[in-house]
Structures are given as structure tokens and as C-alpha cells.
Symmetry: C2
Subunit: 309 residues, 2 copies
């Protein structure tokens, strides 16, 4: 198949640490350009903006948007109007409504649009989904707890509206749960802990049920200080207990490890994006973000101690 000529838009930390190495390690891509206000990358054409790249740059096939969600929709629309395939970092938009506009645009422009959820490409996610297919699920417990000071130092935006607070990591858990569970589920109760000086929750306790009333409980917490993070999903079935731990890098059945692998999430994302382009398809699953919007709509907000970094 033809090599995909790619540009990265927004060369910040996530692009440098994850996207660029994953692209460099995939034979199906050639990184030809970068559009970024604050960074230049050696060996490729550099532009200050997506507009300048589209106007003056080399011919490209696709763009990977690593900019903040608040500006990404306008950039995605512009790139698609120029016939470029688009990959979106998570979440696919700041609002659910704009994603529906992107969905229509992608169809009209005849390009691939890929809303990426990197955690779905953790090593054991696909295996967990297959293991669960043949079993009767009885209950699900999600624990996603980390120290915000360690994992999001100085990220003041996370406490602003749209920053999602503890749902910024929590949406990763939801992206895995929606991928491995066989049925869609919905929220029935949400309790949110919101620091008095913040707009978004520092912790959330969520109760979902699926279409056959299986309970799915999630605890998200940013206050996991002085202890290792917990990124676990436990699924009780009629034939054993599955645990996805370390964010999907290890899987246990009835407490026995099935193996542990290094994270290669972004390699998986780019493999998926290439397949979608070659098949002429899009993948725009909003379900993780929809659950977060439901939780922020339906959640009871308890005011807790101010957050001081």
C-alpha cells in the first residue's frame, strides 16, 4: 500500500513523547510536516499554523491533531475540507454537538476521521474483550486513582470547565470499559467531589447499569498521594474473575497473571488509523465522552477542600 504522507498539528508534549515515535516506528507513514506555534522539528517542513501548512506546504494525505480539544474541531473541519484524513487526540471534541458536525463533514468530504482513544490499544484490551465474549458478566468494578500532582503537574486547565478534572484520566477507563464489555451501559447515579476553588471534580463515584441490569461501579480519584496509581478494571463472571491492571498492560484471571507487556498504545493507534484510511472508513465513537457528559449532567456535586498544588 502507499505510504501515508502525514503532518502533526500541535507539537507539544504528547506529540513529542508519543505521536512522533509511533509514526517513526510505523512503515506505513512518512512524517512530512509539522504545524506548531512553539516548536520546530528537524528533518520535516515546519509551519506556524495548519492554514500555512495547507497553503504553502508539501502535499500530504493526513493530519494528526494533537492540539487542545477547544481548537481541534475548527482545524479538523479545515483539514477535511482540503481532503485530508484526520486523526483526533482524545477526547474528540469539547462538546458532543461539534463531533456530530465533524461526522457529517467527514462523510461529505469523503475522508477518514478517526477519534482515537489511546487506552483502548493497551496490550491486553483486545484479549480481555475476547475472554469476556463467552462469559456471563455479573458485576464490574473500575478503580482509576492517581496523584494529580504527579501526573498532571501545573496543568491548571484541568480544573477549568471543559478540563474535566478527574474525568481526564477517568475517560481512559471508560474508553476501555466501553471496548471490552459486550453491551452498552448507562449512568444511574453519580457523586462528584469538587474542590471549592475548582470547576471540575477531583473525585467521582459512578454507578452504571447495562441493558440487562449488570451493575458497573467506577471510582475515579485524583487524591492518590504517596502511593502508586491504580488503573484497574475487575469483571466478575460466571466463569472466573478478570482483572485488567496497570491500565491494560497486565491481565489476571482469578488472580493469576496472564502476562505483562510494555505499553504500545500509540503504535496501535497509528496502525488503526492506517487501516481505516486504506479501507475508506471512519471511526468516531463518542461513548466515553458521552458518559462523562452524562456524569457532569446528572452528578451530585459535593464541595470539598480547595485544591492547592
Amino acid at each position: 500500500m502507499d505510504t501515508i504522507r502525514l503532518a502533526i498539528v500541535g507539537y507539544g508534549k504528547i506529540a513529542r513523547d508519543q505521536h512522533h515515535p509511533a509514526i517513526a516506528g510505523h512503515t506505513g507513514y512518512r512524517l512530512d510536516a509539522v504545524a506548531s506555534r512553539n516548536a520546530e522539528v528537524a528533518g520535516v517542513a515546519n509551519f506556524e499554523s495548519l492554514e500555512a501548512l495547507l497553503e504553502e506546504g508539501p502535499e500530504i494525505d493526513a493530519v494528526s491533531l494533537c492540539t487542545p480539544a477547544t481548537v481541534r474541531t475548527a482545524q479538523a473541519r479545515l483539514a477535511m475540507a482540503h481532503g485530508k484524513h484526520v486523526m483526533l487526540e482524545k477526547p474528540p471534541g469539547a462538546t458532543l454537538a461539534e463531533i456530530e458536525i465533524l461526522r457529517e463533514d467527514a462523510q461529505r468530504c469523503g475522508v477518514t476521521l478517526f477519534a482515537s482513544w489511546h487506552s483502548r490499544h493497551a496490550p491486553y484490551v483486545a484479549q480481555a474483550r475476547r475472554w469476556l465474549t463467552t462469559r456471563k458478566i455479573q458485576r464490574v468494578d473500575i478503580e482509576w486513582k492517581e496523584d494529580v500532582r504527579v501526573w498532571h503537574p501545573g496543568q491548571a486547565w484541568i480544573w477549568q470547565p471543559g478540563g474535566m478534572g478527574v474525568f481526564d484520566p477517568g475517560i481512559n477507563a471508560l474508553s476501555i470499559a466501553t471496548a471490552i464489555l459486550p453491551r452498552p451501559f448507562y449512568l444511574v447515579d453519580a457523586q462528584l467531589q469538587v474542590p471549592g476553588n475548582c470547576q471540575t471534580p477531583i473525585a467521582a463515584s459512578l454507578d452504571f447499569i447495562d441493558g440487562v441490569n449488570v451493575p458497573i461501579h467506577a471510582e475515579f480519584d485524583f487524591r492518590q498521594a504517596d502511593t502508586p496509581p491504580i488503573w484497574d478494571i475487575h469483571v466478575e463472571t460466571d466463569d472466573g474473575r478478570l482483572t485488567l491492571t496497570r491500565g491494560g498492560c497486565e491481565m489476571l484471571i482469578d488472580g493469576q497473571s496472564q502476562g505483562m507487556q510494555e505499553d504500545a498504545e500509540y503504535a496501535g493507534l497509528y496502525e488503526r488509523f492506517a487501516n481505516l484510511i486504506h479501507q475508506g472508513q471512519s471511526d468516531l465513537d463518542v461513548s466515553p465522552l458521552r458518559h462523562v457528559a452524562d456524569a457532569l449532567t446528572l452528578g451530585y456535586r459535593h464541595t470539598v477542600d480547595d485544591f492547592v498544588e
Copy 2:
């Protein structure tokens, strides 16, 4: 065409005031049963629950669910599993996720599912949509202001999570705007005023844009005391200014009234439901509720004076 044998589930104020008269006035329906915990209706079969109605009741074709959103999804799923067509009061669910499950159920069960938005059936909504079709829209201003003490006396649930606060009437404005404007739009900024003793906003200021950057501004306010309510949508175009006022009961072009009619929203709803049933189609537009979820997700919450009824 065959008469639709109908049951009302949840015979509260909205069922008594709006649904029952609209059904009685429509020749396409016969109200055969009511399922309600706290009310009996003369001349039809009465049951304490939907379960009892489905088990022991007369054969019916369709149910109209007038129960609160929090219990409606389970009832809709049960009715559809029994092959009944279902009409949902607004909003179609407490969460967006559950509505997607209902959508799949309706397809699988081969029944009509209708998410009703009564304000879309106000007298001048269809005419406004047609008038706007041929014009270039420059900006939209929505004003939806009423005295909560007059219009929602004693409705404490409105201040609880899921009660939506000022979005309970505001979603009516959004249901009209999404019906008359030619393009979908999305939220870019939301400022919410939340009483210190409440979970939901008493006022909201919203800025949307559509796909070609037309600004759409909305002001929702529950604090319209001692003055008449304002339920207005103004649309500036390249060829005149349209105003839908009185919630769609009057339309003005450049300030000149085009006529005023009595509200007949629920008659329109039941006409639409009958047409959907006879055509074998569903209508499950979540866009008004999605905008509310986006506003509660993205909105900046300002704490204001406690609300004391």
C-alpha cells in the same frame, strides 16, 4: 387506517392537562388503558403499573410515557420488548447513553419510538423554518425567561441533579432552535448561575456557533419576577428579521405580526406519532438534550444567592 389502541403511563398533571385532551381530540387513537400509581381515569381500564397493564390489560398498540425521565427508560424497554410503540415525553432520557440503548431496542423490536419535543409543534415553528430556508442567517438571539415561582411552584426536583434547573424550560427553546435553523450548531461558551443551595442553574448564558460560524446566543433565566415571561427567538438574516414569540404562537417579520394562534402542541405531537407508526419509522432526535449536557459539561458555574421559594 387502523385506530391506534393507546395507553397512558403516568397520569399526572401533564397527562391530564395535555396528553389526554390531545388523544381525545384525535380520531386516529382510542385511549383504552391507563397505568398510574396515583390516579384512575373513568371509561378506560386502569392499572397500577405498566407491568400489570402488559400482563392483564386489553390488547394495545402503543404507550405514551408521561412518567419522570428517571424511570421512563426501563418502562420504554419493557413496552418495546412487548411489541408496543412508544412515545416519550421530553427529555427522552435522564442520560444520553440510555437513549442510544433505546434506539437499538426500537430497531431490534421493530416498533416506533418517538422522542417528543412539544415546543416544536408550536403554531409558527414550521413556518419559521420554511421562511429561513431561503435566507442567509447572520445571527440568532434566544431569550427564554420566566418566573420559576409561577411556572414551577413547589417543583423541588428541578434543583436536584438531573432536574436541569433553567434548562427544563430552556430545552424547549433549544428544541425549536434545532428545528428551525438550517444547520447544526455547537456550544463555545456557557456561563451558569447556580444558587448556593441548589445543584442546577437558575440562569444560563450560552454562546453557540454553527458550521459557518453564525453566532447563536441564548439567555435562559428563571428570575423573571413580576413581569410576563419572555419566550422569544430572533433571527437576523440578509433579508429581514424573524421573531418567534410567545413560544412560537406568534411570528413577526421585521416587527410586523404574521398572525397569532392558540397553542396546539400536543395535538401536533400525537399527529406526528400516528404518522410515524403508520410509516413504520422512529424519531429519536437527542440534539436538544445534547446541547444541555454540553452546557453542563462546559459551563462555568458562578455561585449566586440561595433560592428560597
